[in-house]
């Protein structure tokens, strides 16, 4: 439903996109993950016809984005940081205006606005100007705005940035319900947990290029599969623990002194836990905790991009000025 091939875009001497390839199958959610400046926003702006690429090909719902941008606009909904709603209008007025601009007859635009306001729990605030909406309400209205024309394809740019945990959970429910209903979703996010929870597929991009693609599980396995982790009782026993575990796994151990934490990659469970406990005990290491742990997406991200996934900085830094 969404296809990008070799997308290129540069702003001055900065290559925002350097040959990006993407594809999203119908009815699935793809999370576009990447550090600030990776090119996420540029990619979404190109796919939603807001920006022309310098090179490459893009298709949305089978329509060539570059040749028929107007037709693409009729097939997609966009919600995100930059395509805002009108703060001076009420929630209802915003949705009705979008409906009419989507060529819906007036009565139909009104009906859909009412339905969406109800579905997104905004009925009470429907006739208030959106300037006074809370962050969560605004995001819900934003998403509702993208759904007015019931488009088959949705682009969501950081749909939960700035929301509190409860608001985020609510958004997640709404988004996954949409995908279950057959909508194809491409979303960008800086929250790994969000990609993990929602997306069928994750595309990690950096420096304007796709650097990894797969399900959350596949990416985690690629980042080293499972690790055996121990937390030792005293800092002095860290070194002994590290050498015991390294010998068991055959690979170097990673030590975090402050957390009194040592871990090694393990290929299989087969008896290794029992052996580890025995040998650590024999070496006089006092244990606070021991167990297997799969790599988190944070580690995947760090391993792939060399940078931690930042959740602090705003996406506006990625927008060229």
């Amino acid at each position: 439903m969404i296809l990008a091939q070799g997308l290129q875009k540069h702003f001055g001497s900065t290559h925002a996109l350097a040959g990006l390839d993407l594809d999203v199958a119908e009815g699935t959610i793809l999370a576009l993950l990447g550090p600030n400046g990776a090119g996420k926003t540029t990619a979404v702006r190109i796919l939603t016809t807001l920006l022309r690429p310098d090179g490459g090909y893009a298709e949305v719902a089978g329509i060539d984005v570059l040749k028929h941008p107007a037709a693409v606009r009729g097939k997609m909904g966009l919600a995100g940081q930059y395509a805002t709603l009108d703060e001076v209008l009420t929630g209802r007025e915003n949705l009705e205006m979008i409906g009419r601009l989507f060529r819906l007859p007036g009565a139909e635009a009104r009906r859909r606005a009412t339905d969406l306001l109800e579905r997104f729990d905004l009925t009470e605030a429907a006739d208030r100007v959106t300037k006074n909406y809370s962050g969560g309400m605004r995001r819900r209205l934003d998403l509702a705005g993208a759904l007015v024309a019931e488009p088959p394809v949705l682009f969501l740019d950081e749909p939960t940035t700035g929301l509190d945990p409860r608001g985020r959970l609510g958004m997640w429910d709404l988004i996954s319900a949409l995908a279950k209903g057959g909508t194809t979703v491409l979303m960008t996010t800086q929250y790994l947990e969000e990609a993990d929870r929602l997306a069928d597929d994750i595309a990690v991009i950096d420096h304007g290029r796709l650097i990894a693609r797969g399900t959350a599980l596949e990416l985690k396995q690629r980042a080293g599969g499972e690790r055996l982790e121990v937390i030792v009782g005293t800092e002095s026993s860290l070194e002994r623990a590290a050498s015991v575990l390294a010998a068991l796994s055959g690979q170097a151990a990673h030590t975090d002194v402050l957390a009194r934490h040592v871990s090694v990659p393990v290929a299989s469970h087969g008896g290794i836990l029992t052996r580890a406990v025995r040998e650590l005990d024999a070496a006089g290491v006092e244990l606070d905790d021991i167990g297997f742990r799969r790599a988190t997406l944070d580690e995947v991200f760090l391993g792939l991009t060399g940078k931690p996934a930042s959740t602090e900085t705003s996406v506006s830094e990625e927008l060229p000025s």
């Binding site: 807001l50 107007a70 940081q81 209008l89 009419r100 601009l101 989507f102 060229p320």
Partner: protein, 256 residues
């Protein structure tokens, strides 16, 4: 994109702009309170000191205030466009399957309505302080037609500037430093005869003076005078220059 859709979407944009005005009535200050203030101040502060051959000062003054107001109001549309560009509203519209031209035409049409309101308000307040037009209905309509045409052309200049500047605030300053000298170095408030030669030559030949003189002549019972043709030429010439310029700058702005 058919003409019908363009018209429908333009009206939708006008409707949005009018909702903005209803919720933020301050947006009308420049076409209501401000011109009233100018009429009253100039009428009573300068009215006694400035002698106009053959007529009262207020009758002379009104044409100047009319044209000044529609000019400022027209250019001001750029500030609102710059706001929409800055806060992401334009991106929202660009992601919709609507007529993209209507985003700009909706702006300038709203401006035309604002200019009409301004003219009506000023005409009313002028009458209260002694303004007595002698041109009849025909003269009045012709005068208003020229003012609105000039204001409409300048609202395309506003769109061009709004698309060009980076921030709405920058545009406020730009408007002040371009339009303000033009209105003062003109025949808006005083006859140009007493100005030093270098200024007089400029003042008498710049578009604002031409439009003001034509409007003044029509209001006061003439048939437009020698400045009528130049006034029309400037107004329509400005439209022919500023309209494509605005479209070009807007396209350039949104493609980045």
């Amino acid at each position: 994109m058919s003409l019908g859709w363009w018209l429908r979407d333009t009206l939708e944009m006008v409707r949005r702009n009018l909702l903005h005005i209803r919720r933020t009535p301050e947006l009308l200050l420049d076409v209501t309170v401000q011109p009233v203030m100018f009429v009253v101040l100039f009428r009573f502060v300068f009215g006694g000191a400035i002698q106009i051959a053959g007529d009262s000062y207020v009758n002379y003054l009104m044409a100047g205030i009319f044209v000044q107001t529609v000019a400022f109001a027209g250019v001001y549309t750029g500030v609102l466009l710059a706001n929409d560009l800055k806060n992401g509203m334009i991106d929202r519209f660009r992601s919709l399957p609507m007529s993209q031209a209507s985003v700009l035409t909706g702006r300038t049409m709203t401006d035309l309505l604002r200019a009409m309101l301004a003219v009506a308000v000023m005409w009313g307040i002028g009458s209260l302080v002694g303004f007595s037009p002698q041109g009849g209905v025909g003269g009045a309509l012709s005068a208003v037609g020229i003012m609105l045409a000039f204001g409409f052309a300048l609202s395309w200049l506003g769109v061009a500037m709004g698309a060009w500047v980076r921030t709405p605030e920058a545009l406020q300053g730009l408007i002040f430093t371009t339009i303000f000298p033009l209105t003062f170095a003109s025949s808006a408030f005083v006859p140009t005869d007493t100005m030093p030669d270098w200024l007089r030559v400029f003042a008498e030949n710049q578009p604002m003076t031409r439009v003001i003189n034509a409007v003044r002549d029509l209001i006061l019972g003439g048939s437009g005078g020698p400045d009528l043709v130049p006034a029309l030429a400037w107004s329509f010439g400005a439209l022919f220059v500023f309209f494509p310029l605005a479209v070009w700058l807007y396209r350039r702005r949104i493609s980045r």
